[in-house]
């Protein structure tokens, strides 16, 4: 189990796709849910929201950015090798329903998580406008898939090297001005989600975000992933990972994501020098 059947480098090698054999999880997983992966005996448990599943093949797909030791270790695994442990599906699935016009906003590897949700939103009959962004052209992922999954796709780059020159929020404002948008789904780096929410709040458009706090067990047992939503403490692993973005305390989330910055850098350096 958990053998890597396909592997792909994306975005200049800073992002990797793995298709992993996990029939039990593939059978149950729905868009928006995540898995926890552990590469080997000494590895840590890393939560990643699934980018795709294939029930017939019995596989799940994850797409992740290399940000430290654990993801670098994941990257080093080749086709035919396996993850020691994969646990899931975890978290609540996205509530996909027919609403009218839905805008799906993705940044960085968040686009990978956004893709199955976008597809689901379109399949159920929504008019889906997708907006994806990255720092530059090379870091844009899944453009073709997002185009196929939506009715209209806008691509943005911070440096103007491709598509619209600017942030996803710029395009989002234009869309909100022109269309009767019923729901915005925003998945990406925390600052992006925060800015999207501050825009949509002004337009009073409900906005779902998918949060990625640090986790351990992923089953509600430890409380590591606690986030403040509407002034209440919620566990992203069992209450989320999706929440109403207008209620999320993004600043607290950003701070909590820094909890192990020092240790993470020690571990990464040690790994790179091995």
């Amino acid at each position: 189990m958990f053998e890597i059947l396909e592997r792909q480098d994306m975005a200049d090698g800073t992002v990797v796709l793995n298709e992993i054999s996990a029939p039990l999880i593939a059978k149950k997983a729905k868009p928006g849910q995540f898995v926890i992966l552990k590469a080997n005996e000494t590895g840590e448990r890393i939560p990643l929201t699934m980018a795709d599943t294939d029930q017939n093949k019995g596989t799940i797909t994850i797409i992740y950015q290399i940000v430290g030791k654990s993801t670098a270790l994941f990257k080093s695994l080749q086709v035919g090798e396996r993850f020691q442990d994969v646990i899931g599906p975890l978290g609540e699935p996205t509530h996909i329903e027919k609403l009218g016009t839905v805008v799906c906003v993705g940044g960085g590897t968040g686009v990978a998580v956004l893709h199955p949700i976008t597809r689901g939103m379109k399949e159920i009959g929504n008019n889906v406008i997708a907006i994806i962004g990255a720092r530059n052209k090379d870091l844009i992922i899944l453009e073709d898939k997002m185009k196929a999954a939506s009715n209209e796709l806008h691509v943005c780059t911070d440096d103007g090297s491709y598509g619209h020159h600017g942030f996803v929020t710029d395009v989002l404002k234009d869309v909100l001005d022109e269309e009767d948008v019923k729901l915005v789904v925003a998945i990406g780096p925390v600052p992006m989600m925060k800015f999207v929410c501050s825009v949509t709040e002004k337009y009073k458009v409900k906005t779902l975000v998918s949060l990625n706090p640090i986790m351990v067990d992923g089953t509600g047992m430890c409380g590591c992933c606690r986030v403040s939503v509407g002034g209440k403490t919620r566990f992203a692993c069992i209450d989320g990972p999706e929440f109403d973005g207008h209620e999320v305390d993004f600043d607290e989330l950003m701070q909590r994501l820094q909890a192990y910055k020092e240790q993470e850098s020690v571990a990464y350096k040690k790994f790179l020098h091995k």
């Binding site: 030791k69 067990d217 047992m221 606690r226």
Partner: protein, 470 residues
């Protein structure tokens, strides 16, 4: 005049040799070093072999205590451990973590005038002898019945059920959500109190007997109880524990450096964060640590923090010493290792710096009032007594509640208002046909041996159901 026979010299309770506190407080090796054969035999000789042994009444799984002690006295340690196995599949665990002082040893007749027989130490001794020097001979198994049982959760109650039912000839599969089996024995109880190799060895004995262990399976997510029945299981035992951390619900609780005991101990024990960076999971190493609570988990957390290099570890508890629920041996061990106690102290808010890192906790002094519904004297705040405790790491070890993950996904499993599964206390039968439950998910957070006792009752009932159909 006839000469009186010389009075038999009274043997004192043989103390357990232990690692020196000053040394052990900085390592994760086991604290008790274990009896030698000589010490064990000498201790066993203290047993009076009462006709109506009250020690057995104190044991939730009714181990034949005088029986196994007699074998130790005779030097037949293999026979002694097999005597325990008749009632308890996990003696190496129970010898270490049972609260003997309120169970078997608490009832020992010798305890009335002096020290009771060290039953726990003897149990640990024979289990360790078997593991290290035994011939590996397994207990006999009944002929296969063709019945299949799913055990959900591999903690003490699940392991007990699995061990009982495999011997009765049934097929048993354990499903565990974590990547390693053992439940609280592995994620919760620290290495220095219960070495993980011992737990894995107990699990591996069950595997040799034919029990299948499926890790990474979150029942309720990966597979539901009804799907397990569809897969052909005839009965299911749910022993998923009390896996929902309680927080203090005071301001500042989400600052960096504040952990639930579940998280702190899981990182340290299951994920081996004390070996970081050899192991990848990090854990904050506080210099000035406070731990809230007064139970065994509180002591475990405090002693772990000390081993991770703290200069100072304080246990903060809102009542007084007399109300502390931890085993006296655990409190004693903590004190020996330099853990301090701030009693009659209640936290009111956490304080942090500009990076949201914990710097302290504001507390109130308390006094004790009349007993509350728990029978313990209620702590009452003393007005105007606010003061600040400085700290850079805090662990909240005030208990755990019912984890809703499985019960929420199983509609016809009745739960009470606290979220615990409703089950017959005598049989473990739930309101859902073919499903039994026991341990912390039924009773709320309790001890390893009580969970095992519940597992024993449930396995008897499951066996009856599978044999007779009721």
């Amino acid at each position: 005049m006839t000469e009186k026979p010389p009075k038999k010299e009274k043997i004192p309770r043989q103390p357990m040799p232990e690692q020196d506190p000053q040394i052990r407080k900085r390592n994760f090796e086991e604290v008790p070093l274990g009896y030698t054969k000589e010490l064990a035999v000498k201790e066993a000789e203290r047993c009076l072999h009462c006709k109506n042994p009250s020690c057995m009444e104190g044991c939730p799984v009714s181990v034949d205590i005088p029986g196994f002690i007699k074998s130790i006295k005779e030097g037949d340690f293999a026979k002694a451990v097999r005597k325990i196995w008749e009632r308890n599949a996990l003696p190496a665990v129970c010898g270490r973590v049972c609260p003997q002082e309120i169970q078997c040893e608490g009832k020992c007749i010798l305890g009335k005038k002096g020290d009771p027989v060290a039953i726990g130490n003897l149990e640990k001794f024979v289990a360790d002898m078997e593991r290290e020097h035994g011939n590996g001979e397994l207990p006999p198994k009944n002929a296969p019945t063709g019945k299949k049982i799913a055990v959900v959760g591999s903690g003490p109650s699940g392991l007990t059920v699995a061990g009982d039912l495999i011997l009765k000839g049934h097929e048993v599969t354990i499903f565990e959500a974590f990547h390693k089996p053992g439940g609280v024995l592995v994620y919760g109880i620290p290495e220095f109190r219960l070495p993980k190799d011992i737990v894995y060895s107990e699990v591996s004995t069950l595997e040799k007997l034919g029990v299948k262990v499926e890790c990474n399976t979150v029942v309720g997510r990966t597979v539901s109880l009804d799907e397990l029945f569809e897969q052909g299981y005839d009965a299911i035992y749910v022993g998923v524990g009390a896996g929902l951390p309680r927080f203090l619900n005071i301001p500042g609780e989400n600052l960096i450096g504040i952990y639930s005991a579940n998280e702190y101990l899981t990182r340290a024990n299951l994920m081996k964060a004390y070996l970081f960076p050899e192991y990848d999971t990090p854990l904050a190493r506080g210099k000035d640590v406070v731990v809230f609570g007064a139970g065994n988990v509180t002591m475990d957390s405090a002693r772990t923090a000390m081993r991770l290099g703290a200069d100072r570890v304080r246990i903060v508890y809102r009542r007084s010493r007399d109300e502390m629920p931890a085993r006296s041996a655990e409190i004693h061990h903590a004190e020996e290792e330099g853990i301090e106690f701030s009693l009659l102290t209640a936290p009111i808010r956490f304080l942090g710096d500009e990076n949201a890192r914990l710097t302290g906790v504001e507390c109130l002094q308390m006094k004790l009032g009349e007993p509350d519904e728990s029978g313990r004297r209620r702590p009452i705040p003393i007005e105007g007594s606010e003061f600040k405790l400085e700290c850079d790491l805090a662990v909240i070890a005030i208990g755990a509640g019912a984890n809703p993950l499985l019960t929420k996904s199983t509609e016809d499993l009745e739960i009470n208002k606290w979220g615990y599964i409703v089950a017959d206390p005598e049989t473990g039968k739930t309101m859902k046909k073919g499903v039994w439950a026991g341990g912390d998910i039924v009773t709320g957070q309790a001890t390893v041996i009580l969970a095992m006792g519940a597992g024993r009752k449930a396995s008897d009932s499951i066996h009856q159901y599978l044999t007779w159909g009721w």
